[in-house]
Each structure stands twice: as structure tokens, then as C-alpha cells.
Amino acid sequence: MPPADAVSNSVSGLLATPSAASSPLFDGLIGPIIPGFFGVDELSLAILIGLAALGALLILSTPATGDFFRYLFMLLFFLTCALGVITATHVVTFFVAWEITSLFAWGIGQIKGLPDDGAEEGVVPYHAAGALGSFAMLLGLGLFAIDGHGLALAPLPATARLGPAPYLILVGIILKTFGILSEGWQLRPGRRFTIAGATLAGVGVLVVGLYPFFRFFGPVLGPVSNWRSTALLAMGILTILAALAALGEADYRRALSYGAFSQFALLGTVYLVGSPAATTAAVIGGIADAFAFTGLFLCLSAAEEATAEVFLPRVGGLAQRLPITASLFAVCAFSILGLPPLGGFAADQLIGVAAQTGGFLPIFWMVVIGLTLLYLARLFVSIFLGELHGPVHPERRLPVLLLSTGVIGTLVLLGFFATDLLALLAPAARAMTG
């Protein structure tokens, strides 16, 4: 271990010093909304900030879809329900909001450009994952309520007996997240520009997958630790498997969905390490990845609109026709990899602090980051370089330029305001981990 005085960087300082962990930006925003049912704490406030910015970005994108009103209304409903998920402090309100959010996510995925456009591939087996996830979550929450002797989403005593509830909740979250992501790739919206993939991989994964994970496996179930090693193993395996699937997949939307799932599992793994740095790293990383994947899926949607193809062997050379889209893809990919000054770098710096305790995390993280680079590089090169295949529509410069500016600007802002997020989350992280 390094000498104590060696660890003197600002991240460790912020995490370790109680007085440093306060930001005037968030004063007065924390507290109950409807006591017993909805409320805001540090974790939900951090996610809410991300949700608000993502929502603004997505609404900004809707005019480019050619189906402005349907997307706008669905988005508004979806974001309202997402707000419910994030602020829920009661098992019932949480489950209801979670289910309705998933329903609207499915609805966004079903919007077609024109009534006679395209054809759906069918429902099974991916849609079934969401349904099974709902069932597992319902069962898990039921057992949790019985074992926890109440319906409040409050921390359990360390001596509480949980039975299979944590595993069912974990399975529910994993299946639902996978189901949400699969809605994006099952879609055939007449090859028009769509924000479905971006919404589902960005806000969808953040609200339906990551936030419940953070809530349950942090403040609520955190004090009871007998489930932790199994959950850690499961998330670690999922991270690697999903990254390998992303590396081998020929459909670029599926490949990126697997990538999003791999990042979800990676952040889950980091979160389960349980130290203050790991907890904050996962939350900030979740928000940064949501922005980055929103940008990446918008790029893929632009590519699909331009080529009417989703298979990598049938596309290529799009940087000739879609140069701004290619640039946006590269920047978002860099954010996921943690290049300064984009949002992802703050998360990586924190993961570095979390991993200094040793164990499996440093090597695991290095392997995942290498695989992540490989699948993102493969997607970039395969889609944007090489020969053009068939007719390709030119880029719609103004909407893409606006979206790119929005996404990149937000990622840079997130990098710069990461300290404030860290200051917001640090006390909660310390309390959670004792």
C-alpha cells in the first residue's frame, strides 16, 4: 500500500473529508415529495439531474424523427414515469412506476415512421425477457416486503433474513434491462430516423436498470451482505459475456445494445465493491454512459436512415456522407473509454480509486476496457470507413449538428461538474458503506 501522504489527489480528498463534501448547488432539493411514497435523496437527485438533461436532449431530437408529436407525447409520459421510479420510496409506488416506465419504453420502441413502413421481426425471445423480469421483480419485492417487515424502501437491519429476494430482484433488473435494450434492435421503423434506441439505451437503462440496482443493492440491501459475492460474480460474468457478444455481433444496433448491457453490468460490478469511491464511480459512470450511449444510438439511427441496412457487412464508408455523425460517434466512444475531459473520465478516475484496494477489480476493469475499445473500434471502422454499399442518403446537417453539439456539450459539462456530483454523492456513499 502507498504511504498515507501519497494519496493526496482531489478525488480521495473529497471522498474522505466530510467538510469537503457539500455543494451549494443542491441545497434545499433533498427531502420528501409525498411522505412515505415519493421523495428525493442524494442518489435520486444525481440521477434526476442526468434524467433532466437526457430528457431535454431527446426532446430536442424529436423534430428530426418526422413523427414529432407521437414521440414527444410518449417521451413526456415516459419521462414522467421515470421521475416516479427515481423518487419512489415505497415498494408499491416503485413497482408501479417501474412497470409503467417499461411500458412506455416499449411504446416508444413500437412507434413506426409511417403506417405501412417496415415489418416487425416478432416478439420472442427478447420481449419475453422483459416480462420475465417483471415477474421476478414482483416476486422479489413481495419476498422483500415480507422479510423486511414493511413496504418502505428503507435500509434493512444488518441481521435481516432475506432469502432469495435479492437474487430475484437482481434477475428482475437484469432481464428488464436486457428486454428494454432488445426493444431498440427489434424495431423496424421504416428505416427512418428514430430516437427509440437512444431513449432505451440512455434513459431506459439508467432508470429501469441502473437506478433500481443502485437503490436496492446500495441503501436498501447494503447493510445485509450475504448476497454480495454471488451478485458480484453474476455481474462480472455478464460484463465479459456481453462485451464478447458485442464484439461478435453483425447487426450494429444489437452490437451496441450488447455494449450498453456490458457497461451496465460493469457499473453494477463496480457498485457492488461497496467502497465510497466505487459507489460514486458507478453512479457518475451510469449518468455519463447514458449520455454517451444516447449519442451513439442517435448515430446508428442516422446510419440506418441513410443506408436502410443494419448489418455490418452491408454498410461502410458512411464518413463520406455522414461526417458529423462519424465525429459524434467517435467522441461518444471516447467518453465511454474515459478520455478527458468528457464525462466518462470522471467515472474512470473514481474506479481507479475504488480499485486501489486490490482484489479482482483492477485486472477485471482492464480486460473490460480493452474489450470495450475493441467493439467500439470495430463498429466505428466498419460503419464509417470502407466502401459504400448501395445508395446512401446524405446527412441532414442541421439536426445532426444540433444533436452533436448537445451531446458533446453535455458530456464536457458533465466532466467539468463531476466534482459537484461527487460532492453530492459522497456523504450518501460514506453512509451507505459505513
Binding site: 502507498p2 480521495s12 478516475q349 480499485a355 480486460v367 480493452g370 475499445l373 470502407g386 466502401e387
Partner: protein, 589 residues
Amino acid sequence: MTERLIIWLIVGPLLLAVVAPMIQTSLEQWRLPIHAIGHVLLLVSAVATFRLPAQAVVVTIRGAALGGQLSLDSSRPVPAELTLVAVLFLAISLACDKLARASRHGIAFLSLLAVAQTAANLTFLAGDLLALYGGLVILSLSITVMIGLDFSNPGRDAGLRVLATLEAPSAVALASFWLIDAQTGTVNLAAVPSRIQSLGPATALVLVLPILIAVIARAALAPLQHWVIVGSRAGAAPVAVTIAGLAVPLGGVAFARLVDVATLGNLNLLHALAVLAALSACLAGIGAFWETSALGVLAYLAMAQVSLAVVGFATPNPWGPAAGWLGLASGAIALTTLGLGLTAAIRAVRATDLSRLSPNQIGWPTTAALAVGSLALAPLPGFAAFAARTILVGSLVADGTNWGLVAGLLTILATFVVTASALRVPVALTRNYAPETVKTKVRSLPRVGKRARALAEALPREADELGNIGGVLVVLIILNALVGIVPVSWLGSLAGVSNPAPAAPLLTLAVTVVLGAVTIIAVRSFEDPTAFADHLPRGMTRNLRAFLQRFHPERAIDPYLVFGYLLINLGRLSAALLNNTLGRLARSG
């Protein structure tokens, strides 16, 4: 002023990349080389860094709120490095300007070249691991996009290979940088090695291994060398020059800057790296000997030069790194000279195959550049690379270990093979292959009217259409000579050797000029090599004619013959080299 200048060196090229295409579009009728003019400004900025104070100048940029820093320091001989790299960027940009403007995505290439200059400057100026990583990642992304700019499937595959080989280890290394930051509280290049050592061997290994693999990939050492060859073969000629003349040597710079972090001063690891680098140089020489594509040969030669420089960086005494830096700098100039010569030649003969290079269609600056570039890489006495190799072998012998001896022997072997490979280019020019052009076609037709024949003869030479490239090549040829003169004395003082190279400055210049002139005259004078025999006394001609017939245009050169001839000459060269080195060691020891 100081801080602004250093930041300008990073931001300026990026600005050039964005603004130049806009200006070029609005001033299209004037056909100004806007990118090259921008590179001139950047060169002036680089020269201005010589006026910075000699002590360390560290500019800290708050890159982001979470303590992200970009430390730039000019305490090392950074001004010279910045100036040299600015000259090379200017040379490539100016030489390829007309070519680029005539091609579809040429302007994008010039802008990417400017972005690559940001990367290069960042690599030289970086004072911490993250800034260095930032420079290298920008470099590999711009190189990848350059390779893919022809939008062909081979280009795409090569781009993926380059990006994956360079960036996958680098991404893992980035993770280890964060771990180092967390565990030691710093990512400063100077402070990191001692801090990591205090963490214990197991932790240090986990932290250092990814960095070691990343620098091996960057410096194109075996087994992670293939990206250089694949990228150069697949890209257009200017892209291959950028890879060979800039990207690979910058990988060498990254190695030099990270070798302390990656090895933590472990002597066994350093020796192993030196042997690996010398083996890589041997492999590169063998690869270049059998390569058919001219751009592939250039790539192998770049790999060899940088590998030999890495041998120096991995040698644990002051002479080794000094030889490494000199070899790297002179190698970059020679590779750019040779690369731009090949660009002009390929453009003229419309083929990338080395056997298709024809002196009939190549102008004299191109011929001279090919000759001087090859001879400088060989390395012939008089060129800076020869001095670098002399010092390198001397430092390996002075190391006094078995590993040092093995690395020294491998370095001499690599010199043999690389010389044989480098000389393939001027030898190819003596073959007098006559490609079919409009002129030759018209000449060969039996019934062509006088007017048509006159029109065909009046067509410009293809090489003449290349605009600025002739002038650039001449400047680069002179630069090769100058580098042979100037740094030798500087290096002598740095390495503590009174006169490290046997060549006096005037001799260096004379050798360069004479060799260049002889090569040019030989190539230009004798379209048919057997005609050379006509100028000799009759009694001598029979055997010589038989020998020269081996080089007849219709026949391929027997590689064994050339190799044997070169081995004899190289034996003499290496004997002189070793004799010189050992004598100097005896005097200094």
C-alpha cells in the same frame, strides 16, 4: 507568454485543421497551399520555443473538475524536437498539397495531418501520463481515419487493425494510469517510477505490464509490429509517409518517455527489451528484403529504424539513449525523404510495386531523394544514422553484460539486413523498367503522324505535375546532410565522448553530395546498364558485361547476388565501425 506559446502549440494545429479547409474553399481560385502556410506558422511557433527559459516550464491546465491536469514542460530538449517535427509536417503538407487537392478526400488528409501535429506536440510536451496518452490516442485515431480515407475495404480492414493494435493496449494502459493516480497520488512522468516502486513488486507488475505492452505496440516491436506494414500498404502514399516518417518514430518517442515507468529501471527487463528491439530490427530488415510493395519496404524500414533506436533507449547507460535520440531524429528525416521520393515515383509510374519504379519517368529530385534517403537509412558513413549506430554498438559493448553483447551482435546483424533492404530502392532504379505511357506508346507505334508525335512528346512528365514536391525533396536532402553534421558534436558532449563519429562535418556533406550526385548520374545516364561497359577499356568489358547483364531490364535482379555484394561491403563497414568503437572505448575507458 510562455504558457500561451505552449498551449498554442497544442491548439494551433487543431485550429488549422478546422479553419484551413474553410479558407481553402473561399480562396479556391488562388490555389494557395493554406495548410502548408499554417504549418509554416506552427514551425515559427516551434522555433520560438528556443527562446523559452532553460528551466522547466510547467503549464497546468485544469482539464476538468476532478483534478484532471495537463502538465506541459519544456525542460528536456523539447524545442529541437518540436522544430524537427514541425519541419517534417511542413514538408509532408507542402509536398502533398497539390496531390491532395487533386484527390477526393485530400483536404481531409491535410487537416488530419494538422491534427496529427497536435498529437506529436502533445507527445513531446506532455509532463504526465494522461497528457501523453491524449497525444497518442489522437495520433492513432487520425492515422486510422487517414488510412480509411480512400474508403476501400482493404483500407477499412487496415484501419481497424491499426486502431485495435494501438488502442486496445493503450486503453488498458489508461486504466492502469488511473490506478497509478489513485495509488501514488500522481501521474507525473518524473515522479511516477519511484512512487510505483514503493508499492511492492506484485502491485507494480499489475500497474506496469499494460504500459509495457502499449509501448511495445506503439514502437512497432515484434510481435505487435504488423500495424505499420498493413497500414502503409493499404493507405495512399502520403499516408504511408505519415506513418513511416512520423507515427512510428513518435511511437519511439513514447517508448523513450515511458521506458522508466514501464521497466522501473529493472536491468533484466531493459536488456530483454533491447534484445527484443534488436530482433525486431532484424525481422524488419528481412521483411523489407522480400517485400514487393515500395510502401511496404518503407514501412519495414521505419520499423527497423525505430527498433534500433529503442535498443538505445533500453540500454542502461547515457550513450544508449543519446544514440537512440539521434537515430530516431535522423531516421525520421531519412524516412520522410525516402517516403516523399517514393510518393513522387509512385505517382509518376502509376504503380506501387518496387520493381516498377523507372528512372525514365522520375525527375532528378525524386531520384536523388530515393538515393539519399536509402543511403541515410543504410546507414552509410557521413549520415547521422551511422554515427548513431556507432555510438549504439559502443554503448552495448560498454554495458559489459552478456545481454548487452547479444543485443550488440543482433544490432550489427540488423544493420546488415537493413542495409541490404534499404539499398533495394536505388538498385531498383538501375533496372530501367520502362512502363507504357502515352509517350512510349506513341514512340512504339510505326505509323504516327509528326504532329501526333510532337504532341505526345510535348506532354509533361508525370513527375513534373507534382508541384512543390521537387523543392521539398531538395530541402530534405540538405536536411539529411545537416543532421549528419550538427547533432554529432552536440551528441558528443551529451554522451561524454569527444568525437563520437569518424566523419568530420565537411566530409559528411561531401559524402552526401558525392553519393547523391553519383547515384543520380548513374541512374540518369545509363538507361541500359550494359551500356556502362561501353565506356570501359575493351579488355575489361567481357566479364563486366556478363555481370551487368544480370541487371538487364527484362530480368529480375538476382537477390542473392545483390545480397552477397552488399555483405562484402557491409563487412568492411562493420569492421570499421567496431574498430572505431572499440578504439574509442579503449581511449575513454
